[in-house]
Amino acid sequence: MPITHPSLPVTMPETCDGDILRVRDLKFNYPDGHAALHGVSFQLCEGDKAALVGPNGAGKSTLMLHLNGILEGRGEIEVMGLRLTRDNLPTIRSMVGLVFQNPDDQLFSPTVFEDVAFGPLHMGLPEDEVRVRVTEALAAVRMSAYADRLSHHLSVGEKKRISIATVLSMRPSLLVLDEPSAGLDPRARRTLIHLLRDLPITMLVSTHDMALVKELFPRTIIMDEGRIVADGLTMEILDDEKLLEAHGLERG
C-alpha cells in the first residue's frame, strides 16, 4: 500500500510557476507490465536545487529517464514552457542535462575532450562553438587540464566531475543527476559537494546520501512506490521522523 501525506506544510516560494520544469500526472508501465510511476506531478523553478530521495525501486531513475524523453510515459512534461513531444526531443535533450549514475556508462569516448564535445557536436553546433563549450564546461567542473586525458586513466571522483561536464557543455537549463555521490571517497565527495553548490544552475538530484541532502539542497522530494509522497523544505522534511521512517529513510 502506498503511503501518502496529503497535508504537509510546504512553504515553497509562492512565485514558482514551474518555469523550468512542469510534470503533470506522469504514469509509466514497463513493457513487462510492472508499473513504475503512478501519476507523478511536480514543478521546478529557476534556481531550485532539489533532492529526490526514496528507497530503491521507488521510481526515481524511471522518472529521471522521462525528463528528457528516453522513456515515454503518459502525462505531460514541460521544460522551459516547451511541451515534450517526439518532434522537439533534440531541443528538450539539450535543455535537460541528464547524468547517469555509473560514470563508466556516461563516459563512453576514449578521451575526455571527445566525451565533453559529444553533446554540443550532436546538437549540430559548429566546430569552433563546440570547442568553446568544452573549454567552458571543463572550467566549470575545475578540470580544464584534463581535456586530453584518457577516460580510463581518471579516478572515480574525476570521472564524476567529467560526467557533469559532458552535459554542462550543452548549456542545459536543468541538471538532473542520478546518485552523484555513490562510490566516492570522502575527499572526492567533498569536492563534488563544493562543485554542486557553486554551479549556478537548477538541479534535481536523486540520492541516498542524506548528509548531502541536508548540506546542499533546500528542497526535498520523497518518492516511494512510483508516487511523490512529500515535497517541501528539506529542513522540515528531515525533521519529520515518522515520514522518513515510513519510507525507509534516515536523517543522515
Binding site: Q106, P110, E114, H152
Partner: protein, 272 residues
Amino acid sequence: MHANLFDRYHHTEGPLHRLEARVKVVLTVAFIVSNALLPDGAWTAFGLGWLLVLAANALSLLGLGFTLKRSLIALPFALAAISSIFSTPGNPLSSFPFLGMELIVTDAGLLRFASILVRSWLSVQAAILLVAVTTFPDLIHALEHLRAPKIITTVIAFLYRYLFVLSDEVIRLLRARQARSATLPPSVSPHFPRKWGERKRGVVWRAKVAGNMVGQLFLRSYERSDRIYNAMLARGYQGQIRTLHPHTLTRRDWTIGALTVLLILSLQLIGR
C-alpha cells in the same frame, strides 16, 4: 586491472610524437609493404631498413633498443615458417627423414626462412613504435582521416574505451572463481569431501565454468550497452556519430612524410 597494462603510449615527447598520426600510419604501412616486397636475401636493404628503425627509435627519445626489446613477439609464429627451409626449390644441402617424409634442406630455403624472420622482425618494430609514439585515440582519428569506414572506427573507439572496463570485470570474475575453488585442500575440509576441490573435476566441468563466466560477461555487457545507448540519447545522439576533425597536416608533416617515403623507395632500389 591496472589500466596501464593495456597502454602502449610512451610520454617521451620526442619529434616523432609530434608528427601527425596519419603520416605515421602511412609511413608504417609503407615500410611494412616495402619489407614484404624486398626479395629474399636483400641483406643490404634489410640492414638499411633496420637503420631506419633505429633512427625512428632515436627520434622518439625512447632509446635505441626500445623496439628491439619488444620485437620478439612474433617469434612463436616463426615455427610455422621453419618448414619453408624444406619447401623452397634450390640446391639441396642436406636431407633427413621426418615422419615418413624426406625433408630436403635447400640453400634457397634457408635464405627464405632467414628473410621471413628479418622481414617480420623489422615490420613488427615499426608497428611497436607506431603505438608507442601515437596515442590510440589519435590513431583512430588517423584512420578516420584516411577514410576508414566510420562505423568501424567508432566500434574500435568503443572497444578501446571499454576493454579496460570489461577486463576489470573479467579479473573480478576470475578472482571469484579462484576464491571459490582453490583454497580448500582435501585434508582440511572433512565437511566438504571432494565437493570443493576443483582439481577433482574434469576438464569439461572447468570449460563449463569458463563458459558460464563468458555468458555472465555477455549479459552484463549487453545491459551496459543499453545504459550507454541511453546516455548517448540523452546527449542528442540520433543514430549518426559525428566527430571533430582536430588534426591538420603541417608543412613539417608533409616534408618528413615525403622524405621518408623516398627513403623507403630507395630501399627498394637497393634491394633489387
